[in-house]
């Protein structure tokens, strides 16, 4: 499991986006769960073996992502490991991708697939200062 540097992430103000994002997410949540976004891993088990060779691992620690940005090949996925003392969650609200995970307890992992190319902002609904820029090529 790779651990990136813990960076203090500066974040553009995403609050108006969040309000719209919440509406879109609520409408699209069910679709997103059954669609191309991944399902959260079972609570006590470690993440199941990767279905893709190109998996990036990002850690959640100290209420921040371990990296400010990450590159993923199209169709690849990111595994988010909660290495923190706090409950986290992962959501993406961008044109072209909409995803919302369940709450992620400390020690839990969540895998998110990125089937579309583009640039996406991954956030945590609980901790608004958490941002991860994902560049999918």
């Amino acid at each position: 499991m790779s651990r990136g540097n813990r960076l203090r992430l500066g974040s553009p103000d995403k609050r108006p986006l969040l309000r719209w994002g919440s509406l879109i997410l609520l409408a699209g949540a069910a679709a997103a769960r059954h669609g191309w976004a991944a399902e959260p891993a079972p609570p006590s088990a470690s993440a199941p073996p990767s279905t893709s060779m190109q998996e990036v691992v990002v850690s959640q620690h100290d209420r921040a992502f371990s990296q400010r940005s990450v590159q993923v090949p199209q169709g690849g996925s990111i595994r988010f490991d909660n290495d923190d003392d706090f409950t986290h969650q992962v959501f993406v609200q961008s044109p072209g991708m909409s995803y919302e995970s369940d709450e992620q307890q400390p020690g839990q992992s969540i895998r998110v697939r990125f089937p579309k190319a583009g640039s996406f902002d991954v956030q945590c609904h609980i901790h608004p200062k958490m941002h991860l820029r994902v560049i999918v090529k």
Partner: protein
């Protein structure tokens, strides 16, 4: 144990359930009352410079309903609190006694804003005070 004593003194035992309707939750105004208290209190937490490091990275939309459920639960209201323990949920914040007391003071001010009488405020504080030893880790 003191709750049991009070219950007996008020004649509020299993034999006389009718008189037991007045839980602390009810006295605080039930759901609307708790909402008023939590709303006013969170407003203060988010504006308190002493608590900036604790609240500047937590979403109020996420926190508020959980805080209300928690207050409902500790005041014998009809709520199931499914969150983590006070110790577990605060461990990573390294709360000092001074910051804990700032939170209590802001809660007192929030209850003032919500019009809760002083002696009734103390009944809620009495339920929360023992959590200090679980929440304060520094």
């Amino acid at each position: 144990m003191r709750t049991l004593l009070t219950a007996i003194l008020l004649g509020c035992t299993a034999g006389t359930p009718a008189r037991c309707a007045n839980s602390l939750y009810d006295q605080l105004g039930a759901a609307p009352g708790v909402h008023r208290i939590v709303d006013a209190t969170l407003r203060r937490y988010y504006a308190d410079p002493r608590l900036h490091d604790d609240f500047d990275n937590i979403n109020q939309v996420w926190l508020q309903p959980r805080f209300e459920t928690f207050i409902c639960h500790v005041t014998d209201g009809p709520c199931q609190y499914r969150g983590r323990s006070m110790a577990a949920s605060h461990r990573g914040l390294h709360i000092t006694q001074a910051r804990f007391n700032a939170v209590v003071e802001d809660l007192q001010d929030g209850m003032d804003d919500a019009g809760v009488p002083f002696r009734l405020q103390n009944r809620l504080l009495a339920r929360l005070a023992p959590m200090e030893r679980d929440i304060v880790t520094r």
